[in-house]
C-alpha cells in the first residue's frame, strides 16, 4: 500500500461494488476514429447524451494518410471512419482536432505535448498505448469500445483494481542506448505477459535521467509487457516539460498544481505486489527477431530460441546473428518514437551520410507540433540532405491502416511497438528497434549496430 498508484486510484473511486469492480472517475477521455464509432452508436441507441463533453478530446490518427492531408482521403472506407468521428464529436459537443488542424496528430503524442495529460489524472482511450500518458505521472490505460461508451455516458468506468509492480532500473545507460532499448530489454526479460494484471511504476536513476520524450516511450511500451499501464512519479523534468503548454494550468493555478503534484510519489515504505530490479549497464541497443515484442535481443547477439513458427515467418534461423542482414524499409514514427527527440536522434546519426540505395524510409512525425519543431530546428534540412523525406503526421505504418504498408516478405526496421505477424501489412516482417538503430539501418541498408556511428 501507499504506492503512488494507490494514491491516484483511490482518489478517483466513486464507489466500490461488493465482490465486483471499482467505479472509477475518469479525468480525461481521448477518442480516435477506429474504436469509438460503435460507442457513439450505443449512446444513440440508449437515447442518452455525453455526460461531461468538456473532458473529452477527439482526433483521427489511425487512418490518416501521411501525404496530401489537405485533400479528401482516397480510401472511401477510411474516409467514412474519419468523417464519422467528426460527425460524432459535433453531435455530442466534444473537442475535435481534425486532419490538418494544427493540434492534430497521434492522440498519445498530442495529449502530453498540449498539456491535456497532467500528473495525478486518470486517463483512458480506446487504445492500448494509452499507457503512454503515464509518463507525466498519471494513471492511464487502454480500454475497449464498450468501456469508451461507459465513459461517454457517465465519465466513469468499472474496473478491477490491478496489482502494483515497481521496476527499478539503476545506473547509467551506455552510449547509443535509449528508452526504447530499456523497454525492449524489459520485455525480453519478463516476456509480453510478465506484467499482466499489474500497473507498473518505473523508478531508478536510469528512469529519472530520461527526458520526458524518453519517459513517454518507456511508458508507451508498458502494454507490451502485459501491464495495463506504467507511470513515472512526476518531478522537475515533468514540471519543466508541462509549464506553458496550452492546456496546462497557468499563473496561480500552476503554482497550486505543482504544489500538489510534488506530493505525488510512493511512500518510502510503500509495498508493491512485485518488485523487479535491473542494471542499466546490462542494456545494449536492442532489436527483435520474432513476432512478439518480447522476442528481442542485444543487436550484436544471436537468436536465442529454437526454430519455431515465428522464426519461420521472419525467415530467420535459430542461432543466427542479424548484423548485416539486408533490410528493405525503415519506419521512424508512431506513438512510441514519433517525438522531437526521436527525430533529433535519427538526424544526428544520418547527418553527413546518405540513405542506402534500395531502402524505403518513412519518417512520420507524431503530430503537427513535432513537424513544426523539426523545421524550426533545421532537422528537415539535415534529413533532406541525407536523402530522407518527412511525411505528414499519423499512426502510419505502425499498423498500416492507411496506405503505408510494408509488402509481404519485406524486412522493416521500425521504431513502432509491435512486430506481430502482418502488423505492418500482410506478410510484413518487422524488426523493432530505437530511432538510432533505425537510422543506422537506413544509411547502411542492413541491420547495423548504431554505436559504430557514435
Amino acid at each position: 500500500m501507499n504506492t503512488l498508484f494507490d494514491k491516484i486510484w483511490d482518489s478517483h473511486v466513486v464507489s466500490l461494488i461488493p465482490d465486483g469492480p471499482t467505479q472509477l472517475y475518469i479525468d480525461r477521455l481521448y477518442c480516435h476514429e477506429v474504436t469509438s464509432p460503435q460507442a457513439f452508436d450505443g449512446l444513440r441507441a440508449r437515447g442518452i447524451k455525453c455526460f461531461r463533453p468538456e473532458k473529452i478530446f477527439c482526433m483521427p490518427d489511425h487512418n490518416t494518410p501521411t501525404h496530401d492531408q489537405d485533400k479528401p482521403i482516397e480510401d472511401p472506407v477510411s474516409k467514412r471512419q474519419v468523417d464519422s468521428l467528426e460527425r460524432n464529436a459535433k453531435e455530442f459537443g466534444l473537442n475535435y482536432f481534425g486532419m490538418m488542424h494544427p493540434k492534430n496528430g497521434i492522440i498519445h503524442v498530442v495529449g502530453p505535448e498540449r498539456g491535456l495529460s497532467l500528473p495525478g489524472m486518470t486517463i483512458v482511450c480506446g487504445d492500448s498505448h494509452t499507457s503512454t500518458h503515464g509518463a507525466v505521472g498519471a494513471v492511464a490505460f487502454g480500454i475497449g469500445t464498450s468501456e469508451v461508451e461507459m465513459v461517454l455516458a457517465s465519465q466513469c468506468i468499472l474496473q478491477q483494481k490491478p496489482k502494483s509492480m515497481r521496476i527499478t532500473v539503476d545506473g547509467k545507460l551506455g552510449k547509443g542506448v535509449t528508452a526504447k532499448d530499456i523497454a525492449l530489454y524489459l520485455m525480453m526479460k519478463i516476456t509480453t505477459s510478465g506484467a499482466t494484471g499489474y500497473f507498473i511504476e518505473y523508478a531508478g536513476e536510469a528512469v529519472r535521467n530520461l527526458s520526458m520524450e524518453g519517459r513517454l516511450t518507456l511508458c508507451n511500451l508498458s502494454i507490451e509487457m502485459g501491464a495495463r499501464g506504467g507511470f513515472i512519479a512526476p518531478d522537475q523534468v515533468t514540471f519543466d516539460y508541462l509549464k506553458g503548454r496550452e492546456y496546462a494550468p497557468k499563473g496561480e493555478e500552476w503554482d497550486k498544481a505543482v504544489e500538489y503534484w510534488k506530493t505525488l510519489k510512493s511512500a518510502d515504505d510503500a509495498v508493491f505486489d512485485r518488485e523487479l530490479h535491473f542494471d542499466a549497464a546490462d542494456i545494449a541497443p536492442m532489436i527483435t527477431y520474432g513476432t512478439n515484442p518480447g522476442m528481442g535481443m542485444p543487436i550484436d547477439g544471436t537468436i536465442p530460441v529454437p526454430q519455431c513458427k515465428a522464426l519461420d515467418y521472419m525467415g530467420f534461423t535459430s542461432g543466427q546473428s542479424l548484423l548485416g542482414h539486408k533490410i528493405d524499409y525503415v519506419f521512424l514514427g508512431a506513438c512510441t518514437n514519433g517525438r522531437i527527440e526521436d527525430f533529433r536522434a535519427f538526424a544526428s546519426l544520418v547527418k553527413g551520410h546518405k540513405k542506402a540505395p534500395g531502402v524505403t524510409a518513412w519518417l512520420v512525425p507524431g503530430s503537427w507540433m513535432v513537424d513544426a519543431q523539426i523545421r524550426e530546428e533545421g532537422l528537415d534540412k539535415v534529413l533532406e540532405e541525407a536523402g530522407f523525406e518527412i511525411r505528414q503526421p499519423g499512426c502510419s505504418a505502425c499498423l498500416a491502416m492507411n496506405d503505408d504498408k510494408i509488402p509481404a516478405g519485406k524486412y522493416s526496421v521500425s521504431t513502432s511497438n509491435r512486430n506481430f505477424e502482418g502488423r505492418q501489412g500482410p506478410g510484413s516482417r518487422t524488426l523493432l528497434a530505437s530511432p538510432l538503430t533505425a537510422a543506422a539501418a537506413a544509411i547502411t541498408g542492413e541491420v547495423t549496430d548504431p554505436r559504430k556511428f557514435l
Binding site: 466513486v14 464507489s15 461494488i17 461488493p18 465482490d19 465486483g20 469492480p21 467505479q23 472517475y25 477506429v34 474504436t35 464509432p37 460503435q38 452508436d41 440508449r46 455526460f51 489511425h62 472506407v77 477510411s78 467514412r80 471512419q81 464519422s84 480506446g126 487504445d127 492500448s128 494509452t130 487502454g142 480500454i143 475497449g144 469500445t145 464498450s146 468501456e147 461508451e149 461507459m150 455516458a153 457517465s154 466513469c156 468499472l158 474496473q159 490491478p162 509480453t192 505477459s193 499482466t196 494484471g197 502494454i223 502485459g226 495495463r228 512478439n292 513458427k309 499498423l399 498500416a400 491502416m401 509481404a408 509491435r418 506481430f420 505477424e421 502482418g422 502488423r423 500482410p426 506478410g427
Partner: protein
Amino acid sequence: MKQKFDIIESSCIPLPLENVDTDQIIPARFLKAVTRDEKFFGDNLFRDWRYKPDGSLNKDFVLNDPRYSGEILVAGKNFGSGSSREHAAWAIAGYGFRVVISSYFADIHRNNELNNFVLPVVVSEEFLAELFGSIEKDPATRVRVDVGAKTVTNLATGRTENFPLGEYKQYCLMNALDDIDYLLQQKSKIEDYEKKSK
C-alpha cells in the same frame, strides 16, 4: 450481444498456440467498420490464418477442419494480447463462440469479452493441457461451463475446476445486464464525487 448465461455445454475448437494477439484475431484492415456488425467481424475472425494470401481457404487451420465445431474456443496461454480493439471480441462472438478457455488472458481483451457476453474461462495449465489432449484424442470432446456454480468440466475425463468470476459480473451475465445499465443508475453518486473533489 446481450444474452443470458447459465450452463453451456458444447464441443470445442482447439487453438494450442500461446500469445495469440488481437492483430491475429482480427487484422487492422478490418477495423474500419463504423457499426458493430458481428457477422462481418466473425467472417474475418483469424482472417490471415484462415485464408491464404490468394484468398483460398487454408485447410490446415483449425477453423477449416470439419472435425472441430462448437461454441467453445480453447486457446493457449496469454490469449488476446496486444491491441485493445474490441473488434476482436466482436469477431469471436460473431463467429459463434460463447466461451473462450485459456490458462491466461490479456487484461483488456478479457474485459472486452465480458462486455460482449463472451465468457473468458481461466483454467490451470494442467486443466488446459489435459483438455487439449482430450480434444486431440476425440474431437467431439464436450466441455460444460456452469456460470452459476463458476465451474468448468472436461466431460471426457470428468475433471472439474472453479474459475474466477466476481459476483457482480456473474449477476450481469446471468441477467443480460451490462455495465452501462449499472452506471446510468449512479448519476447522483458521480455528481457528489465531482463536487467533493473540486
